[in-house]
Amino acid sequence: MTMTDVNTTAREIGRRSFVARAIAAIHTVIGATIAFIVGGTTLAPSFTRREASWLRAGSIDALPDNQPVAVALRVMRQDGYSQVVDRTLVYLVKTGEQDVRVLQSRCTHLGCQTSYDRRAKRIVCPCHGGVFDLQGNVMEGPPPAPLPTLQARVENGEVMVQI
């Protein structure tokens, strides 16, 4: 083998590996683009959060002072390409002329539906004896956390609750 042959072979190997790398690079770009589009559409809904909406929950004048009133809120919600009606029961507690505290009504222990005990002035859970005060604080029983408070405001005498 002469020196020229060796040089030619070396050049050929160099060209071959350059072309092979170009092929790999182009396929990587095409593949990444497709993966970005298909992967994007696959993952996007997993990271989209539901938009909050303000719901009318009745007139503030109808509420007694410092006494929870259970109100069912029905809200139409987008479920992907479908629509469903969610029903949530909340307690409205009138705490002032224009102030309302809104508590979720599901027990924080295992999710049972609580109810208001008028005589004891407590919110009680029938399942395992959880008891909450009118601020939602745990007074007795197994619930690990207070009843969550929802954002609320009063607009033209109407109580608006954020879900």
């Binding site: 396929h27 497709i34 303000w54 139409m76």
Partner: protein, 534 residues
């Protein structure tokens, strides 16, 4: 370290030898760019499969949800519009690429012995690709999907002797509906892909068995390996085609008509360009001659393609030499015929549906739902028991919706009895139809136009009195002429005369005179509106 891992995998699987067999096939000298057409079809097929899988994650093959799921993909899903655009344009690209590949194989005489079976599998794959395009059509369940499929099934009904049975099988019953959608979906995502993949494997195996045909006149020179010397050409072509596909998908997103309305038999679907030649051909064979256009001629074309390698058996691959000239001429005539028919079809397409052309009925519907005393918002309001009208879906048939708008509390049309009579109707049937026209428009993504007072009066008048017989912008009856472009045919004075008393222009007209029934304000608003429609 990494090398050690690959060595171990190779020792257990022998993948390097398999790769060597797959990639290092020596190709004839002079195998140029023109031999990349097959790889491009294969590449586009891959794009269709991957994008199709992405779409199938959201698509629902049921009439009540199909349209909304496609709407969701197009409007709401992040990058969904691009994914759908890719799949939509991919179908056009793959039909085009398969045609080019077929013509390449034909003109270079690559179908000749020993490659006859390779050619046959290719022809079958071409038909499978067309079947894909056809079955994908119905899935969005919009007006175009519904009515184009109705036409397809009507064509199949023309099959001699067993036409009705064929149509029943295609529909899954006597009517186009939920069962039709289910079987076309299964064909599109399970049966056809399985068949196509099987044929692709056979096609490539046969291609490897006989080797690539190479240039017509064998060239001197060393045979070079497929990888990387031809693979780079394939790769560069794929990159170019993919870039072009992305440009189309991004700039011309896939269209979605209004939701399918089985009650509107007047919709004229526009076929996709690759079926346009057949659509045009139909016009030349009316009535009893129809099967000539739908069966005989397409059958002859497919028969010619299938028989080609057995008719043209000489060894000469040159397209213009000896007996081959005859076949080349036949192919040129065939290709030009298809081109001419496609061009004629393009020149004579039915008017494209334009969701932004708000006809008077949709406008009247918009006025009803945006009026201050609109009763729909009692329930249809954000946070209410029913979806806001801007977001509401059309999941019920027309009759249900019209009954609902007249008597919103009734659970279904016809459930009221003598003991439980319907309350006074909330809307007349005409008004409810207007609201429905409005809902279909907004659901199709159109935004209500800004209107003058005159246009409002004209729209309400038309939607209340004229729409039963006359059509504008695709909505209305058919017993009278379509008035979408009436301003181009008649001037304002003539329109006024006809509306007041049609017999002044058409002595035999069945249309009642409206001179007495319209106020002067209504009449002049209507005349101005109609004469402006050109």
């Amino acid at each position: 370290m990494l090398r050690g891992v690959f060595d171990w995998i190779d020792s257990r699987t022998g993948y390097r030898a398999a790769l060597h067999h797959l990639l290092d096939e020596p190709l004839p000298a002079g195998t140029g760019w023109i031999f990349t057409t097959g790889s491009i079809v294969l590449f586009l097929l891959g794009v269709q499969i991957v994008s199709g899988v992405g779409l199938s994650m959201y698509y629902v093959p049921a009439p009540a949800l199909a349209y909304d799921s496609v709407r969701y993909i197009t409007d709401t899903l992040t990058l969904g519009w691009l994914l759908r655009g890719l799949h939509f344009w991919g179908s056009t690209f793959i039909v085009l690429a398969a045609t080019i590949h077929l013509l390449r194989v034909f003109f270079l005489g690559s179908y000749k012995a020993p490659r006859e079976v390779t050619w046959l599998t290719g022809v079958v794959m071409f038909l499978l690709i067309l079947a894909f395009a056809l079955s994908g059509y119905l899935l969005p369940w919009d007006q175009k999907a519904y009515w184009a499929t109705t036409v397809t099934i009507n064509i199949a009904r023309g099959t001699p002797l067993v036409g009705e049975q064929v149509a029943d099988v295609m529909r899954g019953g006597a009517q186009l509906g939920a069962l039709t959608l289910g079987r076309w979906y299964t064909a599109h995502v399970f049966l056809l892909p399985a068949a196509l993949i099987l044929f692709v494997v056979a096609h490539i195996t046969l291609m490897r068995r006989h080797g690539i045909s190479g240039p017509i006149a064998p060239k001197d020179g060393p045979r070079r390996a497929f990888y990387p010397w031809h693979a780079i050409k394939d790769t560069l072509m794929m990159a170019a085609v993919f870039a072009l596909l992305l440009v189309f998908a991004a700039n011309f997103p896939a269209h979605l008509d209004e939701i399918a309305n089985p009650a509107d038999a007047s919709y004229v679907p526009r076929p996709e360009w690759y079926f346009l030649s057949l659509f045009e051909l139909l016009k030349y064979f009316p009535g009893p001659w129809e099967p000539v256009a739908t069966m005989v001629i397409p059958g002859l074309v497919v028969g010619f393609l299938l028989a080609l390698p057995f008719l043209d058996r000489g060894p000469d691959r040159h397209p213009f030499r000896g007996r081959r000239l005859l076949f080349t001429l036949a192919m040129v005539v065939l290709a030009s015929g298809i081109l001419v028919m496609t061009a004629l079809g393009l020149a004579d397409l039915p008017t494209k549906y334009d969701p932004n052309d708000w006809g008077p009925r949709a406008v009247a519907g918009h006025l009803i739902v945006s009026a201050p005393d609109n009763k729909c918002v009692t329930c249809h309001v954000t946070g209410g028991p029913a979806a806001d009208l801007a977001a509401t879906r059309i999941t019920k048939d027309e009759e249900w919706l019209l009954a609902h708008m007249s008597d919103p509390v009734a659970i279904a049309p016809g459930v009221r009895t003598e003991d439980d009579p319907a309350p006074p109707a909330q809307m007349t049937r005409f008004q409810a139809q207007s609201v429905l026209a409005y809902l279909r428009r907004t659901r199709a993504g159109a935004i209500p136009p800004e209107l003058t007072e005159d246009e409002r009066i004209a729209s309400v008048t038309f939607a209340g009195m004229c729409v039963g017989c006359h059509k504008i912008a695709g909505e209305g009856g058919e017993s009278g002429p379509d008035l979408s472009r009436v301003g181009a045919r008649r001037d304002a004075a003539a329109i006024r005369r006809i509306v007041k008393d049609p017999t002044t222009e058409f002595p035999d007209s069945l249309m009642p005179p409206f001179g007495e029934r319209l106020t002067e304000q209504q009449l002049s608003a209507l005349v101005n509106y109609l004469s402006a429609r050109r």
